[in-house]
């Protein structure tokens, strides 16, 4: 559906002539004339208005009754009075009604001071109450969930939260119970409201009925500072507003950016700020001394790191991840390429993707905006689970499908949360996203598909159905892909884009979801083995990708590793190889906030990493939007700016001097990356700029020649074994485990099975099992999922314990813990029996000898 292009009209409000887009709701249009109409239930983000609270009653000439401004679209020549006698009386009446059952406990209420009900009572209320009867009472405060407290006495029943639950994440958990004046908000089944996006209702609530438990009584609005920031816990890079008191972040609110987050936050982004101020966080440098990590001063740690890196020289490799900024990426590249003479640096898991592929993927003509997901004719979700990989897009896709009729097509290995919303969904064999893309491209071009479909593990009928759906949907199509689809053959995705003609469409294109928050920015800043800053030719050729780095570290060809906010043992696949690689490396220098397994065992020097509120610099959104991070809170403990640490190391190793301030460094970055040219920090301001939209952006050539598909062999079923697929849960992050409020969500390994497979293997739901690929084992609990594709077991990656990263696949066997223990017990028993028998024969022999 194309974006609406409303025409401009003029209407009169309180005697002012105001211009507004036609059909805008009066409550919004009034703001264009600097007139505020009070509202409670109206919230445009929640979809069509419901007119429930009646606060926005205004007088419109020519209409006999007062009208609700929230549901009246402005028309040309409309004459509106918001402060006429009739309107004023009605507004005062509604305020009086609302206050009837509202306790006046503002001094203890967390909303006090930033409460719309307070403000509107002050501005539009009558100033006195005639209600002397007893108010209604509830038990309070109650836990709506471990994160949210509900105070039903304060609720004014605007039912924003209920609408949110039904219209935005569509979980239908919140409902109004009872009727009339007895109504109250609760969950349908009485269970706590635990959902990935539950925290948004706290911000939606216009009174203090829903409050954040972690923020409970922490500060009052006049004691805090607001700081605009960006969440760097996932690639969504939602714009946030931080509540800071005494240099501590106490709360995270959304900072509505329609092109990024649409005004919502996930609970990870909203509550994981707590991880900034916990004891587990690394806040001073550490070195390994006598096999044990201990805290040291900066000088000592820097000297240690510099010495080790000097020894490592060109045998040094580097990996970056997490929320590392573009500037840090740039300095890491300089450190490796210019100072140490190595080009082995990467910011993503797997084998290196070639430079022409990266350049073709970054082509501005192929770039889709986030808001295109909402207005395109169709969206193809390819090999990613938005809810886990870039949560906020889950809401955006639902919005598009619900309100604008966007066709939602899903091609993933694992069942998706969006399946119920989708027009078509197909499942392919684990890890075969590239093959699926080839097959789909072939189907769209009318070429034979059998080989690719077989390699992807899908039925040709399903494939053609999906291709037909894509073809019939319309011209503007967005492909939302997980970057792991590039692993098999990066050309596949480009072929699919070509088959759909995405380069010619304004409202369509590609939108890639990287594995780490600033994956795109790090790549563009040069943290990729075969490209320098700006995807240009690197200063040094012959760099290796992450997987090859692991192999060479393990074999001893590389000796030192620099880790910028990444722990390959935790974050990358084949943890076992990385374990060996890190054990063999003589030097592992890391920037980290938490001691993850790989660092705990193998790091030689650890510098404390910054969290995003402490950082200064820029990061790049997956759709090319360069966004600016500003310092919102002081560094905790001894933490120093990471870019300064990198600059210091470069300087001590004799490299070229780094610009002295963060601002100058950002300017250097904009100079080094050609397509960032023209950006300035001031220009980025609070909203960022998309470089694919800049005039200077087209420095990437269109020249890309499609190669023959590289198809892997089809995965065959094996008797008694299942294919293994992995996924990363939204909650799999050290920040979640470290935040007291979120800790209850820390995932534990679970194996997702289809009912048929579980039956064949005689496994029950929640049974403890051991999953083995022949060499390595992972313990998990069985979870039966109706939508799980048969023949594949899905396990969670990136868990501190029992992460699926150790499994190599493609096949695994699943046995119950009980049977494994029984086997072990039987083995021991047999061994004992054998030993006993031996002793007996010996004894007998001895006896015989004696006789």
């Amino acid at each position: 559906m194309p974006r609406p292009q409303p025409s401009e009209i003029t209407f009169s409000i309180d005697g002012r002539e105001v211009k507004a887009p036609e059909d805008m709701m009066l409550a919004d249009a009034a703001k264009l004339g600097d007139i505020e109409i009070p509202v409670f239930c109206y919230e445009p983000k929640l979809g069509p208005p419901v007119g429930a609270c009646r606060m926005c009653l205004v007088e419109i000439e020519g209409m006999p009754k007062l009208q609700t401004a929230c549901s009246t679209a402005v028309k040309d020549g409309m004459v509106v009075h918001t402060r006429s006698e009739r309107a004023r009386v009605a507004q005062e009446a509604v305020v009086e009604f609302l206050l009837i059952n509202h306790p006046l406990d503002c001094p203890v209420c967390d909303k006090g001071g930033e409460c719309p009900l307070q403000d509107i009572t002050f501005g539009w209320g009558g100033g006195k109450s005639r209600f002397i009867e007893p108010k209604r009472h509830f038990r309070k405060p109650l836990e709506l969930s471990p994160l949210i407290a509900i105070d039903r006495e304060r609720c004014i029943l605007c039912y924003r939260c209920v609408r949110y639950s039904q219209e935005i994440p569509e979980d239908y958990q919140l409902v109004l119970l009872e009727r009339g004046a007895e109504s109250f908000v609760g969950t349908f089944d009485g269970h706590p409201y635990v959902a990935p996006f539950s925290g948004n209702i706290v911000e939606l609530c216009p009174v203090g009925a829903l409050t954040s438990r972690p923020y409970r009584f922490r500060a009052r609005p006049w004691e805090i500072e607001d700081a605009g920031s960006i969440c760097t816990l996932c690639p969504a890079q939602c714009n946030t507003r931080l509540t800071v008191r005494d240099e501590r972040v106490l709360r995270v609110l959304d900072r509505n950016h329609p092109e990024v987050d649409d005004g919502w936050l996930c609970d990870k982004g909203r509550f994981a700020y707590q991880a900034m101020h916990v004891d587990e966080r690394i806040t001073s440098p550490m070195i390994r001394d006598g096999g044990v990590l201990r805290e040291v001063g900066w000088d000592r740690a820097l000297a240690e790191a510099v010495g080790a890196l000097r020894r490592g020289g060109s045998a040094t490799a580097a990996l970056a991840g997490g929320g590392a900024t573009n500037e840090e990426g740039l300095l890491l590249g300089r450190l490796l390429r210019e100072v140490l003479g190595s080009s082995h640096l990467d910011s993503r898991d797997g084998e290196a993707v070639s430079l022409p592929h990266w350049r073709a993927l970054a082509n501005p003509k192929l770039a889709a905006r986030v808001s295109d997901l909402e207005f395109a004719h169709a969206v193809l979700v390819l090999d990613c689970e938005p809810l886990d990989d870039m949560p906020i897009l889950d809401l955006r896709l639902r919005k598009g499908a619900r309100r604008n009729g966007v066709k939602l097509l899903i091609a993933t290995e694992r069942a998706s949360a969006l399946d119920s919303r989708a027009d078509a969904a197909i499942r392919f064999a684990p890890g075969r996203g590239a093959e699926l893309a080839w097959a789909l491209a072939a189907a769209l071009r009318g070429e034979p598909v059998d080989a690719a479909a077989q390699a992807a593990g899908i039925a040709t009928d399903d494939l053609h159905a999906l291709a037909d759906a894509l073809r019939d949907a319309g011209r503007e199509i967005v492909i939302l892909y997980g970057e792991r689809v590039l692993d098999g053959d990066p050309g596949a995705l480009l072929a699919l884009a070509d088959a759909l003609g995405l380069a010619e469409q304004d409202g369509g294109g590609l939108l890639g979801v990287p594995a780490v928050a600033n994956g795109r920015g790090l790549r563009e800043a040069g943290v990729t083995p075969n490209a320098g800053p700006g995807l240009g030719l690197p200063a040094l050729a012959g760099g290796h990708g992450a997987r090859e780095i692991a192999r060479r570290l393990a074999s001893g060809e590389l000796t030192a590793l620099y880790l910028l906010q990444v722990d390959p043992v935790l974050h990358y696949s084949d943890a076992e190889l990385w374990e060996r690689a890190l054990a063999r490396a003589t030097t592992v220098v890391a920037h980290a906030s938490f001691l993850t397994p790989g660092l705990r065992e193998h790091a030689t020097v650890i510098f404390p990493a910054e969290t995003s509120p402490e950082k200064e610099g820029t990061i790049t959104h997956p759709d090319g939007r360069v966004q600016r991070l500003r310092v919102a809170a002081a560094h905790a403990g001894d933490v120093r700016a990471e870019w300064r640490v990198l600059a210091e190391i470069i300087e001590r190793l004799g490299g070229a001097p780094t610009p002295p301030t963060a601002r100058a460094l950002s300017e250097a970055l904009f100079e080094d990356v050609p397509f960032y040219g023209g950006l300035t920090l001031d220009g980025l301001a609070g909203r960022g700029l998309r470089w694919p939209e800049l005039q200077v952006s087209n420095t990437l050539s269109d020249a890309y020649e499609e190669a023959e598909p590289k198809l892997r062999k089809p995965l065959r079923a094996a008797k008694g074994k299942l294919l293994v697929g992995t996924y990363r849960s939204i909650w799999a992050a050290p920040e979640v485990a470290a935040s007291p409020a979120l800790a209850f969500l820390t995932p534990r390994q679970r194996v997702e099975l289809a009912a048929a497979d579980a039956e064949a293997l005689e496994l029950r739901h929640d049974e403890a099992v051991v999953i083995s690929d022949g060499e390595r084992e992972v313990r998990a609990r069985v979870v039966l999922r109706a939508a799980a594709p048969a023949g594949t077991a899905f396990l969670e990656r990136e868990l501190e314990e029992d992460g699926a990263n150790v499994l190599r696949g493609p096949h695994v066997t699943i046995r119950t813990v009980a049977s494994v223990e029984a086997e072990a017990a039987a083995l021991i028993a047999a061994e004992e029996a054998r030993a006993a028998a031996e002793t007996e024969t010996l004894a007998q022999a001895e006896a015989e000898q004696v006789t």
Binding site: P49, V50, G51, A52, C53, R54, M55, L57, K65, L66, T68, S71, V89, A90, A93, V94, E96, F97, L98, I100, N101, R130, F131, E133, I156, L157, Y159, V175, L176, E178, R179, G180, A181, E182, S183
Partner: protein, 421 residues
């Protein structure tokens, strides 16, 4: 005085059976409309001047003409959630003559170009629902419902849905929500149901009596029907008379006869020795009238002029043996209980009004509270999402205006004896 159209054969034994109904000339109008064009049916309805019998009194023909033309699924919903206190006409009609309703539904469906029809009946009407179930099955068997009715190209499916007993589900949009399986809350209008109603499709909603009148209109011809009654209120109306009268019940009258004739003539007036103190002319939502208004002609416009409304045509008579406070409290408690809670003035206003009336009853109120109560009613009227709030505020407001003296006397008496109350 009475004029029997709907009630012509109402006491015929076994009229609920299709054979008896057909013998008495039933389903003839259905056959007739199948051969008429949609516009011809609409113009007959328009000419009849039939106004909706459910409460709002909107011209039925015009309502049907609002439905957009086109090929989409369109819906007809028969509102049989007869929940207005004092109203029991639809119950008798459905119980005794269900086939007339089915015939009316097909006619209305033809007029609106509708292919799917629902009857939303209140849960308490289980007996009537069973009778309708049987009648619908008979009509399907006889080919009066379903695909290609009687070989024509008209198709109408009909489903009977039992509500769960909430007053608000008699409000048309609340009814639609309930029918869709949601909590029965009224929706914001516009969009009106004729444009976006059930499942987002164009929907025509009519009362049982309105639909049952349609076969009569076609039988008589719209212009002929319009001759009955008075200008602006044509035809006959079934009036449910209840309360302090000697012969309560349903009476079919020609609109425009004096109200006294209904209350005293047909229903026999209050028991001997008592006199009418106040009466609700159109269900409990209508502002009350007093004995002085008994000569007002019983039709839509005259009652509106007298400051009340005809509503669903349910006359509740209260004689001088009942304190007005009891009537007010009973009415207000009903509306507090039935308020859905979606919009503020209704939810809080009904609640507050009951609390104030309870204080008056307990002797804890002063005449100033009457002013507050009157102003609360004014704050409700016209400010709500649907008409439920107004439905309480109008009668309560009229009672305070017309019986202020009695309220004040009660306060004084209750204050004296109050401590015990």
């Amino acid at each position: 005085m009475t004029q029997a159209l709907l009630f012509k054969d109402i006491d015929e034994p076994n009229l609920a059976d299709i054979a008896v109904y057909e013998r008495r000339g039933g389903y003839e109008q259905l056959r007739k409309v199948l051969s008429m064009s949609q516009d011809a049916v609409l113009s007959e309805l328009d000419a009849s001047g039939l106004r909706g019998r459910g409460g709002a009194g909107f011209p039925a023909g015009r309502k049907a003409s609002f439905l957009p033309k086109g090929d989409m699924d369109k819906y007809l919903v028969c509102n049989a959630d007869e929940s207005e206190p004092g109203t029991f006409k639809d119950r008798e009609l459905m119980q005794k003559c269900p086939h007339a309703l089915i015939e009316g539904i097909v006619i209305a469906a033809r007029a609106g170009g509708i292919n799917r029809a629902f009857i939303y009946i209140r849960g308490e009407y289980e007996e009537q629902a069973q009778i309708l179930d049987r009648a619908i099955a008979q009509a399907y068997d006889a080919g009066y419902l379903g695909e290609r009715i009687l070989g024509s190209d008209v198709s109408v499916s009909l489903v009977l849905h039992r509500g769960a007993g909430a007053y608000i589900c008699g409000e048309e949009t609340g009814l639609l929500d309930s029918l869709e399986g949601k909590r029965g809350n009224p929706r914001l209008k516009p969009p009106f149901p004729a444009i976006e109603g059930l499942y987002g499709g164009p929907t025509l909603i009519n009362n049982v009596e309105t639909l049952m009148t349609m076969p009569q209109i076609l039988r008589m011809g719209g212009n002929k029907y319009a001759e009955l009654g008075v200008s602006g209120s044509s035809g006959t109306k079934i009036v449910s008379v209840s309360g302090h009268v000697q012969r309560p019940g349903n009476y079919e009258i020609e609109l425009g006869i004096p109200s006294r004739e209904i209350i005293y003539g047909l229903a026999g007036g209050p028991p001997p020795g008592r006199s009418v103190k106040l009466w609700f002319p159109g269900g409990s939502s209508a502002p009350v009238l007093t004995a002085e208004d008994l000569d007002v002609p019983y039709d839509f416009d005259s009652l509106a002029k007298a400051g009340s409304m005809l509503g669903s045509g349910a006359i509740i008579v209260v004689d001088d043996s009942t304190p007005v406070l009891d009537v007010a409290l009973k009415t207000a408690r009903f509306y507090r209980h039935e308020s859905c809670g979606k919009c503020t003035p209704c939810r809080e206003g009904t609640n507050w009004t009951v609390k104030m009336l309870e204080r008056i009853e307990a002797g804890e109120a002063t005449p100033m509270d009457l002013d507050i109560m009157a102003s609360v009613q004014e704050q409700i009227i016209g400010n709500c999402l649907c008409v439920l709030g107004d439905a309480m505020a109008m009668p309560i407001g009229s009672m305070i205006a017309k019986f202020r003296g009695e309220f004040e006397k009660h306060m004084q008496r209750a204050q004296l004896t109050g401590a015990s109350a």
